[in-house]
């Protein structure tokens, strides 16, 4: 949700040892742009492959090689869904404390779409009641 953020261009903490889950449409989109061998089945989900401990798509200069077509989970980050807490900002991200309200609203929409795709791809059950309450809480802060 932090589209083209200047700080992000210097930091790739979220790309180190990534566990990012890919939806079917993420995989189809990236394959149709010619990328191969970037996903593998780990712990029941298709996830981004790590190379030398970093996301396979991270280039030498620390930028994402597939930025415009990157997975939807990467796009909604640092907003993540925790099965216990619901929608939260990942404290690992140095920007998680300074996200603006408009960005947050946009991010929640993206995350909702990501979760719907996740449900469709993996028959994963999302607690939408929790999703609604926790996102309302985040927005009211």
């Amino acid at each position: 949700m932090l589209e083209n953020n200047e700080y992000c261009k210097k930091c790739f903490k979220c790309c180190i040892n990534t566990q990012m889950i890919l939806t079917r449409s993420d995989i189809e989109r990236l394959v149709s742009r010619g990328y191969r061998g970037f996903y593998e089945l780990r712990d029941g989900f298709y996830r981004l492959v790590n190379k030398n401990g970093k996301c396979i798509f991270l280039d030498e200069s620390g930028l994402c090689r597939v930025y415009p077509v990157r997975p939807i989970g990467c796009r909604s980050y640092p907003l993540v869904y925790d099965e216990e807490e619901g929608v939260v900002l990942d404290p690992l991200c140095p920007l998680s404390k300074s996200v603006k309200r408009e960005e947050l609203a946009k991010g929640i929409q993206l995350l909702e779409q990501a979760l719907r795709e996740l449900e469709e791809t993996y028959s994963y059950g999302v607690d939408w009641e929790l999703f609604r309450k926790s996102s309302a809480k985040l927005l009211s802060k």
């Binding site: 189809e28 394959v31 149709s32 010619g34 191969r36 415009p68 077509v69």
Partner: protein
């Protein structure tokens, strides 16, 4: 004065029944040549005044346009139709040959722009300078052959026509516009735009002399060109077997799209080669040019004849490569008579054979995999190779009956509705079904298909000939098959630009690429029009047209996300036959390089390109551009 053009463009509004005649503008011809380049400019002016509008809207102009070389130079047989496509939802065009374009120009018009929407079916008559919109109630529902018979009987033999069939009337997304010589403006569903306007046909008679800049020089060049074409291997091959010669070529190299792109080798393909069809069904004199008086020494059209207990007697056009591949190889129908019949049926109903073949093959694969059941298919057994199923489906598509109503939307939409994993084998780019030159073998074709501004198309950069070593363009530094991704990208950009020029000038690619060099083409252009161009000028003009189409697509809401190649070409190698095991493995690299070269990676760089090519000046102000 510019030579080769009539100097006037006709605007007909079917809602208000009004006609406006506009001058053909010199600065637009200088920059965008004619054909779909000029049509893009006309489209933009309508968009600026009346946009946004959808493909199915009275405001969407349906533009028929000739090029300055249409009807005046050798191989100048082409005209085009352009509009907003209901399939890609971007700006699109389809190029066709035959006499329609020539007659239109001889009637005094470089193009006809049709806007509005008639309340009841109509057809337009352009008789020399006179324009008339006539009632077509009695023609609605008729197939294209019936329309052409009617035109001949009622108007006379010297009238040339284009028409839609039932498919266009029923807004089928693969509906084509057919000419009276059975040449087809097939791709991207522009027949449906015509059907939406309730315009059944346009009928033209023209006999005026078209003035060119230097008559004697052009006559000399034309003579040399016609002789030369018959002496080149490309010209001779096309002359002997038509484009159908490609079947046996790809049998040797691999790359035939058999069984919805899952096999390269199949015994059935032997009966679908151009050689087999001509030896068995060829009818003397066996070949035909695409229209009376067209200056062509290749004559790529085959004439065939058969007597068959199922289909009776037939004499007429034989199928071209794309039609054989779509209706025969893709569906595994090895019976050449059935393929000729299916091709005839598509022309009658007004369907694109590439897309129709692809959607039938997709349905057969879905049936095999259980994604479409027998009940859903209306009791039809959609088995590979079933002639009965294919004939029925083609008809059902045109009339939107049963499963045909879904297939009429094209493989993209149909697979989204059916789901069950069928999206994987729905092969399209921007919703347009992929034509039959395999990008796993001819890797640069992956880039051509994905980045084509009108969706998957082999004619917007014909690098399958470059990749297989049959086309060299030494005048632009392409000396042989490209070996690296960077060389492929260069070949794609050069041929994209050249194809844009040829389509817009009104030239046939068969008579040009691999036949003459572009120094020669530039000389012909200059002699005909009086506008000086050399081979670099030709390339720059083509480039400008390419950017114009790209600009319109961005303006209409398409983005780089739409440049996607079907996953089957990237992840699923064919297991058997020559060429087995290949995939389009450097597509990601090519695409990145391509964006950098073309300046498409960011909106700022794209606008810079518009300025460099001189388009920004021509267009005046432009709105916000979003490339991603």
């Amino acid at each position: 004065m510019i030579g080769g053009i009539a100097g006037r463009i006709l605007h007909v509004n079917l809602s208000t029944n009004s006609v406006v005649v506009e001058e053909t503008k010199r600065e637009v011809v200088e920059k965008l040549i004619g054909g779909y380049g000029y049509a893009a400019w006309i489209f933009y002016n309508y968009w600026r005044k009346e946009g946004p509008f959808d493909a199915f809207s009275g405001k969407n102009p349906l533009i028929f346009m000739t090029g300055p070389l249409t009807g005046v130079s050798a191989f100048g047989a082409k005209a085009c139709v352009a509009s907003r496509s209901p399939v890609t939802r971007g700006f699109s065009w389809s190029v066709f040959s035959g006499c329609f374009g020539v007659s239109l120009k001889k009637a005094g018009f470089d193009g006809i722009v049709v806007t509005g929407k008639a309340e009841r079916p109509v057809y337009i008559v352009v008789d020399e300078g006179r324009i008339e919109v006539r009632d077509a109630e009695h023609l609605w529902g008729r197939d294209t052959f019936e329309v052409f018979n009617y035109v001949q009987k009622v108007h006379g033999r010297d009238f040339k026509a284009i028409a839609i069939g039932p498919a266009g009337e029923n807004l089928v997304k693969m509906a084509a516009i057919v000419t009276s010589e059975r040449r087809v403006a097939a791709r991207t569903g522009l027949g449906a735009v015509m059907g939406y306007k309730k315009l059944k046909a346009i009928v033209v008679r023209g006999s005026k002399h078209i003035k060119v800049y230097d008559e004697s020089v052009l006559a000399e060049l034309n003579r040399a060109w016609l002789t030369r074409a018959r002496q080149t291997p490309r010209g001779r091959s096309l002359s002997d077997y038509g484009t159908a010669a490609m079947v046996s070529i790809y049998m040797a190299t691999g790359g035939l799209p058999i069984k919805n792109w899952t096999l390269y080798a199949w015994s059935g393909s032997e009966k679908l080669t151009g050689q087999y069809i001509m030896d068995k069904y060829g009818k003397g004199p066996r070949r035909r040019v695409c229209g009376e008086g067209v200056l062509c020494s290749i004559a790529c059209e085959r004439v065939v004849e058969y007597v068959d207990e199922r289909f009776g007697h037939y004499e007429g056009k034989g199928p071209e490569y794309e039609s054989i591949a779509g209706l025969g190889l893709m569906t595994m129908i090895s019976d050449p008579v059935a393929v000729i019949k299916l091709n005839e049926l598509c022309d009658k109903l007004g369907l694109d054979t590439i897309s129709t073949g692809a959607v039938v093959a997709w349905a057969m694969e879905a049936y095999e995999k259980g994604a479409i059941t027998k009940e859903e298919a209306g009791g039809l057994e959609l088995k590979w190779g079933s002639v009965e199923a294919a004939l029925k489906l083609v008809e059902n598509i045109a009339y939107r009956r049963g499963l045909g109503a879904l297939l009429a939307e094209g493989v993209k939409k149909a697979s989204e509705v059916v789901g069950r994993g069928s999206e994987r084998y729905a092969l399209h780019v921007k919703g347009v079904e992929v034509p039959y030159h395999d990008p796993r073998l001819w890797k640069s074709m992956g880039l051509v298909y994905a980045t084509s501004n009108r969706g998957a198309c082999h004619l917007q950069g014909m690098t399958y000939h470059v990749d297989r070593g049959a086309l060299k363009l030494p005048e632009y530094g392409i000396e042989g098959p490209p070996k690296t991704s960077a060389e492929r990208v260069k070949a794609v950009i050069v041929t994209q630009n050249l194809c844009a020029f040829l389509d817009s000038a009104g030239l046939c690619k068969f008579g040009t690429l691999g036949v003459v060099d572009f120094d020669f083409v530039a000389k012909v252009w200059s002699a005909a029009t009086g506008i000086e161009l050399d081979k670099y000028g030709v390339l720059r003009a083509g480039e400008r047209i390419w950017y114009m189409a790209r600009f319109l697509n961005y303006t209409l809401g398409l983005t780089n996300h739409d440049d996607a190649l079907p996953a089957r070409f990237i992840e699923e190698p064919v297991k058997e036959g020559p060429g087995a095991g290949s995939v389009c493995d450097d597509f990601a690299v090519m695409l990145e390089l391509f964006y950098r070269e073309r300046g498409l990676e960011s909106s700022e760089n794209f606008v810079k390109k518009l300025a460099e090519t001189g388009l920004l000046d021509l267009l005046g102000g432009i709105g916000e551009i979003r490339v991603w």
